[in-house]
Amino acid sequence: MSPAVEWTLFLLLATGAIAGAYRMLRTMSMVRAGIFLMGSFCSIAGLFLLLSADLIAAMQIMMYVGGMLVMIVFMVMMSPDPGGSMMGIAPPEEEMDMQRGSKQHHDMQGDRMNQSHESADEKQYTCPMHPDVRSDSPGKCPRCGMKLQPTSGAEHGVMEMQGMDMAMTHEFTRPAAIIGFIAGAVLLAAVLSFDWPSAPGLANFDSGLIVGKELLSRYMIAFEAAAILIITGMVGAVILGRRE
């Protein structure tokens, strides 16, 4: 491949990976986070292809695409607001930009909501038993399943919402950011300050065949260890997950 093509591909995939990872942390909706992460992993697989490790690339995609799908299902099953619509319901008109536009109430149990766009935007709906549950569309309260009653709308910033603190991150965010930044910076400094060797020639070979042979000959132990690790992991997961 000519250097130009290679560079563009590399930059494309690198930004894909980094952007995917970053967007995953920032987006409110769980499912979207899953998809972004899956995008990031696929671009990493692309990087592997660039590094001509095609077997690992294929393995990476297979592992993570399946894995992420399951992860998304779990997130939806377990997080209070998978759709990310409960939080930060700013007055819909001004901030209709891309990212926050999808702030609709997404209710697992309710049927198809307000197909007709009556002027529900100003009125707010709340649950008699859980005053802190606020939603701008009729339906059932996620906590106790009771019918939501209309009430006067109130300005909800992301953080000031009483009771149900739905923020995606907890109060440790600031120091976390600092630590993350320092970690990245130190590694980056280390990486950039050394003169790494240039890439030697690579005979075009069938990596699947060779890795297969290596796994069963020289690296038998690694292969067996990995196998045992997987089996114990799975058994452990099944036992933990079993419903009494």
Binding site: W7, A14, A17, I18, Y22, M24, L25, M30, G34, L37, F41, I44, F48, L51, S52, A53, L55, I56, M59, Q60, M63, G67, M68, V70, M71, F74, M75, M78, S79, P80, H170, F172, A176, A177, G180, F181, A183, G184, A185, L187, V191, F194, P197, A199, P200, L202, V211, E214, Y219, A222, A226, L229, I230, T232, G233, M234, G236, A237, G241, R243
Partner: protein
């Protein structure tokens, strides 16, 4: 291979940073798990980069990457199992609310 090794390592460093930030900041336990996956991937990218630039005919690098992949898989499986257990008992999985295991 006009793209230098440093570039790949830089990408993995940034990914590592993002992963660390994710693990430490996210409230949802599943999100923490996914950020951990990002860190593991950063490590794997490093391994493959070094394999390609240092010793492409000795396939130890790729096999090491495979092992990392297995670890990631098992980590996901067991992590989700634990998540299910916590959720069943506490009906929520916000990391900052789960803090009983202390002195």
């Amino acid at each position: 291979m006009s793209v230098p090794l440093a570039a790949y390592l830089a990408v993995s460093a940034v990914l590592f940073g993002i992963g660390v930030f994710g693990v430490l900041s996210q409230r949802g336990a599943v999100m923490v798990l996914m950020s951990a996956e990002v860190i593991l991937n950063a490590a794997m990218l490093n391994t493959i980069a070094f394999w390609r630039y240092r010793a492409p005919n000795d396939f130890a690098g790729q096999i090491f990457a495979l092992v990392i992949l297995t670890i990631a898989a098992v980590e996901m499986a067991v992590g989700l199992a634990v998540m299910v257990m916590i959720y069943r008992r506490r009906k929520m999985q916000m990391v900052d609310k789960i803090a009983e295991l202390r002195g």
